[in-house]
Amino acid sequence: MNVDKPCVVLIDDEERILRSLSLLLRSRYDVLATTNPVQVLDWVRSRPVHVVVSDQRMPTINGVDLLRQIRDHSPRSMRLLLTGYADLAAVEAAVNEGEIFRFLEKPWDALKLQDTIADAAQIAQDEFARLTPPVTAVTPAGEPVREIVFAPVLVLDEDPLSVTVVRELLPPGSLVVPASTVETALARIEQQEYGVILAELRHSSDDVIGALKLLKQASPRTLAIACSSLRDGRLLIDLINQGQVFRFLPKPLSRELLRRALQAALERHRELRHEPHRLRRHVVEAPREVSLSSRVLDYLRRIRDQARLRA
């Protein structure tokens, strides 16, 4: 066995899936496969595990819960969900609780799966090579947002209520800037760096979803909290894989959920500023189709150039 190979852990309740994936991956990785979730936790506790690929529906635990536990034990392991059916609840939980790298669907494309796992393994290998493990921010319920200087927050929503709620939730003196169109939002981001963008996915004229995807490429440090009354699992999967959306909140907004999401996002942004290498965890797939005007695309290009200068 080659000790330099990155370690990939596979878990699925169907052994044939494990056999098939092991054969696909074993030449490049040290593959560990099991149908037992407890075994997976033992592995991530006892040795470096670079990538975990988990099924969603399993008899004793669902994939999101397992990946969340793995995140607590081994935050540097890259987490991927491989599921036969993407029900909305699972996808929302995957974003909000699992903070997963990719949401993959069965049946999968062998080449694409190998590419995705290669990306994930590379990122995890770099992180494991560093000495200090990163700290994950956990915010207990009910705790007030701490009095520290936060990065500015941009609110892209045609409904002015959202910006009011965000202002109420953040400590006084925090900069909260409203924008009602994609173009104004990008013009603001061009002027200064924002830690978080809270965006309503539904817009009367603009492709907010496409803009979020491209914004992640242009300014990866800005964390996106998507919110919408529109609840579509398929769309959300794209937002994970192509936009690395940090949280998804259903509308009407719950103040407590929004408060926690803002706090987690702002703290993550702070970590990313101090440990820029962790940005790689936010690498996204190229989006499939985006309908944005050339002016908007110009903004995105300039934002990308500035982000490179800052980095």
Binding site: R19, S20, L23, Y85, W108
Partner: protein, 446 residues
């Protein structure tokens, strides 16, 4: 004068409730108190009054009474010497002092009610219509009121029928949406059940395809070496031996073992998909209206396979204790719907780790009995009597239409059977479906 023309029979749709009686008004010239009985008789013969059963006697706008044709005939014309005896007397001597009178602003319905209360059989009189000040306005004919009422009732019946049709359609839509909800649940489960084997089948085939060139090269190099060996050409042999050794380095023959395992899995996966699709076909058979003799156990097995994902997700064990059952005439797709509903309800009621569903069948008194028993949270005694009510649900808003069991009951009853439930909270629920074995009782709906 804004009174409508007396001879015009009002169009039914134009009849407005407020001035309804006014539309039936006949502006009859009344008799005077000075008028004689003989003169009154002649007035009845006038063409304009041919329709009237009674004529009013009016003095200065005040109605004194009415003389009826009936009274005149009975007391005067049909009596011997009646005309001679009574002809010259004042009409007031024959008059009914309390004639039926109605205000012009009363509705046709009110007029109908009053007429119904006060008229005797046979109908011998019409009624006086008074204006809002209580003065004589004209006469109304009882038959006109009855005819108008009849039209009105017909209209109401039409409205009722339309309302009934709308209700029926919305009920149908609800039943369809319940079916769609079941279907959605089914599709979610099936997508998962099919995508899992599809996942490894596709992956295995892709890997097999990628391994084939290496395997072909190994076989080709081996054959080439064999040829060289047989020909005894030493130089060729050396070259070909190197080719074979390179091919073996690229494709380890132990991979053949893997390939064979991959293909075994692939065949298994394809068989599993075929099995699922087969079940689905049974499940959604379109010949729902056709009653056919089927094996109930087969239907239960199919429903269990379709519900497999729910059962697996909740780690629920299923035990089947099948008794002897004669083939049953039923609409298989509908009975499947009932079984799937009962099984998924049972699974959903279990929120602990030792979930168990027991399905028993037996024949009893001309019925096939299917009992579905779970060890879930049970149904509270106050809820149990209501579970078959349409729209009754204990699930959160948006998660159930509350029609599932009501549709089950409808289907079972349409088959001439019965469905009942017993439950002990925190220990489990048991549903029993009884379906008649003879075809006589079953009339399967389309």
């Amino acid at each position: 004068m804004n009174l409508p023309s007396p001879r015009v029979v009002p169009d039914p749709p134009a009849v407005a409730a407020a001035d309804a009686l006014a539309t039936l008004l006949l502006p009859v010239t009344p008799l005077t108190p000075q008028c004689s009985v003989a003169e009154a008789g002649e007035r009845f013969l006038e063409a304009a009054n041919a329709k009237l059963l009674s004529l009013p006697v009016v003095d200065g706008g005040r109605v004194l009474g009415c003389v009826t044709r009936h009274e005149l005939m009975l007391r005067v014309y049909m009596q011997p010497y009646g005309r001679e005896l009574h002809g010259r007397r004042a009409v007031t001597t024959l008059m009914d002092l309390r004639p039926l009178s109605l205000s012009i602003d009363s509705s046709i319905e009110a007029a109908g009610q009053l007429i119904g209360r006060s008229l005797r059989q046979p109908i011998t009189e019409d009624f006086v219509v008074l204006d809002t000040d209580g003065h004589y306005a004209g006469m109304g004919v009882v038959l006109d009121v009855l005819r108008a009422l009849e039209l009105r009732v017909g209209q109401h019946a039409q409205e009722l029928e339309a309302a009934y049709r709308r209700l029926k359609a919305s009920q149908h839509r609800l039943v369809q949406s319940e079916k769609l909800a079941t279907l959605g649940q089914l599709v979610a489960g099936l997508a998962h059940e099919i995508n899992t084997p599809l996942g490894y089948v596709q992956n295995n085939l892709a890997m097999t395809r990628d391994l084939l060139p290496g395997a072909a090269e190994l076989a080709g190099a081996g054959a080439a070496l064999l040829d060289a060996t047989l020909d005894g050409d030493a130089q060729d042999w050396q070259q070909r031996a190197e080719r074979l050794s390179a091919a073996r380095a690229a494709f380890d023959p132990s991979l053949f073992g893997d390939l064979s395992a991959l293909l075994d899995d692939t065949l298994h996966g394809v068989a599993q998909i075929a099995d699922l699709v087969g079940n689905l076909k049974d499940f959604s058979r379109v010949d729902a209206a056709h009653s056919e003799a089927v094996d109930l156990h087969g239907l239960i097995d199919a429903a269990l396979r379709i519900a497999g994902h729910i059962l697996k997700q909740r780690n629920v064990q299923v035990q089947c204790r099948y008794g002897e059952l004669a083939p049953l005439r039923c609409a298989p797709a509908q009975i499947n719907q009932v079984l799937l509903n009962l099984i998924s309800n049972a699974a959903q009621s279990i929120d602990h780790e030792q979930g168990m569903i027991m399905i028993r069948t037996q024949m009893l008194g001309g019925y096939a009995l299917v009992a579905v028993q779970d060890n879930g949270r049970g149904i509270a005694p106050d809820v149990l009597p209501r579970i078959f009510e349409p729209f009754f649900t204990t699930k959160p808003v948006g998660q159930g239409t509350g029609l599932g069991l009501s549709i089950c009951q409808q289907i079972v009853q349409a088959h001439g059977g019965r469905i009942a439930a017993t439950s002990t909270p925190n220990s489990g629920t048991r549903f029993v479906v009884a379906l008649p074995l003879s075809t006589a009782a079953a009339k399967v709906p389309a």
